[in-house]
């Protein structure tokens, strides 16, 4: 099949960008979306033009590197699917696709479709960890974890930090990401000692990074490739209220 791509091209963070149209020929249904872009880039390079920059690594939906909007929907609009997992069999000959990078103050465009997501790393650094003393390794399963808590922590830990939630949010809020990270550790016994501090610090970091805040539109949940539920945002809010009002004076 043949496709028309309208791609955002931008030299670097400071340059003004613009959409450029390309034709991609001989796309086969068994290609992935990124393989289709590889094809485009080979053609561009043959012609001596700069390839379209996009981020990718695992190409199997687990690393969180890839992601951009396809026709206005982050990761292309197939529930629970990253761009790298998206198959070209969902598209048909003659389709015209617009590719646009994540847009948020906290995610400046680096080049073309690649944005700087280090703001997420700083939110993690603020509290997305547990402090463990060194020494002999503790017995595995020495700490019992109730089944529901383990399940919830596991669901939350599925977040790959791709940033689609921020991209899709009308307020460029990072609440789904932050709530997934907070819920992951706050659900487990190992996360309890730092629970209040973690919640306060990560929410503060999120705000400092110029992300917006939630208006409960649910756009994030709809595009999240790991189907993180907005229920976790409600949990984070509760944890924050608790941490703010009940924390013992130091």
């Amino acid at each position: 099949m043949n496709l028309t791509l309208k791609v955002w091209r931008q030299q670097d963070a400071k340059a003004a960008g613009k959409f450029v149209s390309y034709q991609v020929q001989n796309v086969t249904p068994d290609m992935s979306f990124l393989e289709m872009l590889d094809l485009l880039n080979e053609n561009l390079q043959t012609k001596g033009e700069a390839p379209v920059v996009f981020e990718h690594d695992c190409r199997e939906g687990i690393c969180g590197s890839c992601g951009f909007l396809i026709n206005g929907v982050a990761h292309g609009g197939h529930r629970g699917t990253t761009v790298c997992q998206l198959s070209m069999r969902f598209f048909k000959d003659g389709d015209s696709l617009t590719l646009e990078p994540w847009r948020a103050k906290a995610f400046p465009v680096l080049r073309d479709l690649a944005v700087d997501r280090s703001a997420f790393d700083r939110i993690i650094q603020a509290g997305g960890f547990i402090s463990a003393p060194t020494g002999g390794a503790p017995d595995a399963n020495a700490i019992l974890v109730p089944k529901n808590d383990a399940e919830r922590a596991f669901d939350a830990a599925a977040c790959i930090g791709c940033g689609a939630c921020v991209a899709a949010c009308p307020n460029a809020a990072a609440m789904l990401f932050t709530s997934a990270k907070i819920t992951h550790l706050n659900s487990l016994p190992q996360g309890q000692p730092q629970r209040d501090q973690r919640t306060l610090d990560m929410v503060a970091a999120m705000t400092e990074e110029d992300f917006g805040s939630c208006t409960n539109h649910g756009e994030c949940e709809a595009v999240c490739p790991k189907e993180i539920p907005i229920e976790f945002i409600g949990r984070m809010n509760r944890d924050l209220i608790h941490a703010t009002l009940h924390r013992r004076g130091e």
Binding site: F19, L69, N71, G72, V73, G77, T98, E100, R103, A104, K105, A106, A168, P170, N171, A172, A173, V203, A204, T207, D210, F211, G212, S213, C214, T215, N216, H217, G218, E219, E221, A222, V223, P229, I230, E231, I233, G234, R235, M236, N237, R238, L240, I241, T244, L245, R248, G249
Partner: protein
């Protein structure tokens, strides 16, 4: 100092700390919104007394001022309620404005192709619908509470609710404005009630569908209850 003494002493700072966080402001919106919703329900139910005739509803108007006697003087409870509502409205609007300004800044360069996949009409109209409600509330107070706009001189009479409503809604443009504002309220609450529950952490993946339906039902009942009055006056059923 005991633990609880520390807690009490630090309390105002903690409330301030909550207000200064984006989540805290949203929680304030949910709680003040809930108070306003409860008021709106009570108000709507009270309005329906107009269908029992002038004697009933005018008596109800006096009852609202006399209730609580002798512990409370004439109109005192009414004023307490008014002050609580005013505080809630001010907090709600202040938080909404501050968060909106912050959220606009979070995406300085917008999308060209972005599509909404999940959001609702109600959610999309919260801000402008809210502004319309604010305008409406001010107008409404000058209209039926103070009788300063929308009436011929001498037409409005304090405590004569039935006669005032019939006269007020006989002006077609005003009746239509009330109906329009109630459309905005219906949309605001369709999203707002569910949204407040989500903000406060009551919504789960399992119950979200039911809570959305309940939220919509409450919004529609409130809408129907309120507009029944201007419609009945326009249609000549209440006169």
């Amino acid at each position: 100092m005991t633990e609880s003494a520390v807690a009490t002493k630090a309390a105002p700072n903690r409330l301030l700390a909550l207000w200064s966080s984006v989540i805290g402001k949203k929680v304030v919106m949910a709680l003040t919104g809930a108070v306003l919703v409860l008021f709106v329900i009570a108000h709507m139910v009270g309005n329906l007394k107009i269908f029992s005739g002038p004697v009933e509803i005018n008596a109800y108007s006096r009852f609202l001022r006399e209730v609580g006697y002798p512990e409370l003087g004439y109109g005192q409870l009414l004023w307490i309620v008014r002050i609580v509502l005013l505080i809630c409205a001010v907090l709600h609007i202040t938080a909404a404005t501050q968060l909106t300004v912050m959220n606009r800044k979070a995406r300085p360069i917008g999308y060209e192709s972005k599509k909404d996949v999940e959001t609702t009409w109600g959610a999309l109209t919260m801000r402008w619908g809210g502004v319309l409600l604010a305008v409406f509330i001010v107008f409404h107070l000058f209209h039926f509470t103070a009788g300063m706009v929308g009436f011929q001189p001498g037409q409005f009479e304090h405590l004569m609710v039935y006669q005032n409503v019939v006269a007020g809604f006989s002006v077609v443009s005003i009746a239509l404005f009330y109906i329009l504002a109630m459309c905005a309220l219906c949309l605001h609450l369709d999203h707002g009630i569910w949204s407040a529950l989500q903000t406060l952490g009551w919504v789960t993946t399992d119950n979200t569908k039911s809570l959305r339906i309940i939220s919509r039902l409450i919004a529609i009942v409130i809408f129907a209850g309120f507009i029944s009055v201007p419609i009945s006056v326009l249609a000549g059923w209440v006169r």
